[in-house]
Amino acid sequence: MPASRGCTTPRSPGANTLLHVRDLTISYGGEPVLERASLAVGEGSFVSLVGPSGSGKSSLLRAVIGLQQPLSGTVETTLTPAEIGLLFQDDALLPWKTARDNVVLGLTLNGMERGKALAEADTWLERLGLAGFGDRFPRHLSGGQRKRVALAQVLARRPKLILMDEPFASLDAIVRSRVIRDVVALVEQSGISVLLVTHDLEEALTLSDDVYLLSQGPRARITQHYHVPIPRPRDPVLSRTDPAFAPLYERLWADLSRAVDHRAEAA
């Protein structure tokens, strides 16, 4: 059953499109932070939305999951809320629940029986390199481990689409590259679609099939759409050496700089 959020009549996205954002405008009362943004996420594709701070990237994601009411525009999806996973910069694990119970919570809230959820949680924690850490509380885990627990919480629910809001920003370089590598491998294996919000151009290009560029806010708009032809399966580190990477990076950087400079001049 297609679901739609926003101000216009619900419409189904295209055949293989899981999420379609159309002409989304978001305002927090005054001037819109984001204006007429449109993008699509296809089945099994990894899409990134990049832009400078204040361009409304996170607001767009919040609108997609219903935490932010858009001023106008629609969010159309063929997925149920249970089929959409969220991974944010802040892992937002419940501090009074162990790693295992945090994963279990995501499953039991989805209707799974607790015994089965416990087994499933252990499987995912093990798969993400956290075997033996299930009884630990988030405070007693490192940043990378907490991020993996949050990832286990999301993946255990077997989502078809994961929305990520700068999920790796708080991690140090080594942990970050390891977590990213694991995320890419799991997403590629499972055919999960991803909509990633980031201000890191390298991250966007090495991970994504499509990248949308937002201009500087307020009234930020999606100004460019790039297809990234780096073959899959990908190694996020080695992807930087792919011949397609450097020219795309330069183009993206130039477009982003132009968008920021243009706004600065206008101001």
Binding site: I65, L67, P81, A82, L86, F88, D90, A92, L93, L94, P95, W96, K97, T98, L105, G106, L109, N110, F137, P138, R139, Q153, R157
Partner: protein, 250 residues
């Protein structure tokens, strides 16, 4: 360089030295026993209290009043705090009253409770209750309003309804805040019970203190102060352990 492992031993020796000097000064006649009886006299008074067993009904009276006030204060404080945090009208009506009660030294209500409830245990429970309830009310009220929005959004986006939010976010948060203030609440509860006894009572260390004061029995006063100190410290240790166990995630 001082070895931190033996800090307790150094403190014990220092305390022993102070007590020895105090005792020596008392025996030498440098201290007036009417104001500062020697430690041995205090000890005798303390042993005396237990020897004939007359202290037990007094301790029982204080414990009953303090624990009764503590339990009632926590329950009512939590309920009112939750109601005020969730229902704006309740907050509008309750906040000014609670702010006034919080601003004044609430022990001044003791004589009023005696008039209303008599000199029995009820007036002591009431004083302990009012001291604890106001503390817990503000703990819960401000706590719920400052609950981490990310956790609320997290549970909501995992499919949690209002009941799930209460169970998995608000209730553990409230428990954490209450437990975090448990030691203070215990101290308040015993303060209420003892002050209530001091004002008007027939039982309790507070009543005995008042009696010792009126008879200029300084040794009994010191013994009672020491007794209350030890009892409250013991309860602090138990409350601290409970807090550490229940908040082991923190």
């Amino acid at each position: 360089m001082l070895d931190p492992r033996y800090a307790w031993l150094r403190r014990l020796i220092a305390l022993g030295l102070v007590l020895a000097m105090w005792e020596a000064a008392g025996r030498a006649g440098w201290l007036n026993p009417l104001f500062a009886p020697s430690p041995s006299k205090v000890w005798v008074a303390l042993v005396d209290l237990f020897a004939d067993g007359r202290i037990w009904p007094h301790l029982e009276a204080t414990f009953s009043a303090a624990l009764g006030g503590l339990a009632l204060g926590i329950v009512v404080g939590v309920l009112l705090g939750v109601a005020a945090a969730l229902i704006p009208l309740v907050a509008e009506l309750l906040e000014p009253v609670m702010s006034v009660l919080n601003a004044i030294p609430r022990v001044i209500l003791a004589p009023l409770f005696v008039i209303w409830l008599g000199i029995g245990i009820a007036s002591k429970i009431a004083l302990s209750f009012i001291l604890v309830a106001v503390l817990i009310f503000f703990t819960v009220f401000t706590g719920i309003r400052q609950v981490d929005r990310k956790l609320v959004e997290r549970v909501a986006t995992l499919g949690g309804n209002r009941l799930a939010l209460v169970r998995h976010v608000y209730l553990p948060s409230v428990t954490a805040w209450v437990l975090g203030n448990l030691k203070v609440a215990v101290g308040f509860a015993f303060t209420g019970a003892c002050v209530g006894e001091f004002v008007a009572a027939t039982h309790g260390p507070g009543y005995l203190l008042s009696f010792a004061q009126s008879t200029y029995n300084a040794a009994l006063m010191f013994a009672l102060i020491l007794l209350i100190l030890v009892v409250v410290m013991l309860i602090f240790v138990i409350a601290g352990r409970l807090e550490r166990h229940l908040l082991r995630w923190n």
